[in-house]
């Protein structure tokens, strides 16, 4: 087993444990911190796949801005622990089993689909910043500009929505 394997399995395990912890914790702040952990390990996995720009973005934007926002809101609202109430009946009897089934079937299909594709060969790394830049300002210029507008809208919307009542 090579170094990639070890790295992969370790950080995959961390990600899964973080996700489990997110679900199992009662206080939202603990869930938020677990999510940050998940994102960090995913960033390592991105690096393993040679997507250096994306890994950086993941840490800076996703873990560093979005999750911080989450933490701010949790602190501001002073959200306490969750109450214990029962699951909606649909969720308990239909949703959970179906989700489990879904998961198993997807895994099965995936495993059968690409048994032989080998990953993590350093010669095949792509995803340097300049590659991303070229694609973004080349082929994907229009979506790029549109997302700029989208962020603007979200900004304005968030400000308006969260205003204090006059």
């Amino acid at each position: 087993m090579s170094a990639e394997h070890w790295l992969f399995f370790f950080f995959a395990g961390v990600a899964v444990l973080g996700a489990l912890n997110l679900i199992l914790q009662r206080h939202p702040i603990h869930s938020a911190l677990s999510l940050i952990l998940v994102m960090a390990s995913l960033a390592v996995l991105y690096l393993l796949l040679g997507a250096e720009f994306i890994a950086a973005i993941q840490i800076i934007v996703y873990a560093g801005a979005i999750m911080v926002l989450f933490v701010f809101v949790i602190m501001v609202l002073n959200a306490g622990e969750e109450e214990r109430t029962s699951l909606s009946r649909v969720a308990k009897f239909v949703g959970l089993p179906l989700a489990a089934v879904f998961l198993v079937e997807v895994c099965y299909v995936l495993y059968r689909a690409w048994p032989s594709e080998q990953m993590v060969v350093p010669e095949r790394f792509l995803g340097r910043t300049e590659d991303i830049g070229k694609a973004l300002y080349g082929e994907f210029l229009l979506p790029f500009e549109l997302t700029a507008i989208l962020i603007l809208i979200a900004l304005v919307g968030a400000v308006v929505l969260a205003q204090k009542e006059p």
């Binding site: 394997h5 994102m39 393993l48 690409w114 990953m119 929505l161």
Partner: protein, 101 residues
């Protein structure tokens, strides 16, 4: 021996499934929202894995856009959550049932 593609995809599937579980099981709105973000992350992993496997940069571009949109969505969503908290003084999703016909 290198890590096969399917391992990455299975990991993505597991994370996505856990996100769905959290979406269904948690009672706090913020926790549900965070499960949503978990699902998005799982999908991102999948995109990057395929981008590497098929040697196309557009997978990573897509991830870029997903992150941007997730940011916007998180901003607006949290603003809405603040409003809900102001109106209902609770973050329990079962208290928010005014949508009933």
């Amino acid at each position: 021996m290198h890590v096969p593609l399917s391992y990455y995809l299975i990991l993505s599937a597991i994370l996505f499934g856990l996100g769905v579980l959290g979406f269904l099981l948690k009672r706090s709105i913020i926790a549900i929202f965070m499960s949503l973000e978990l699902m998005l992350n799982a999908v991102n992993l999948s995109f990057v894995a395929f981008s590497y496997a098929w040697q196309q940069i557009s997978g990573q571009i897509f991830v870029f856009f997903v992150i941007v949109v997730a940011a916007a969505e998180a901003a607006v969503g949290l603003a809405i959550i603040i409003m809900i908290f102001r109106n209902r003084a609770s973050l329990n999703i079962e208290r928010i049932n005014l949508m009933k016909l």
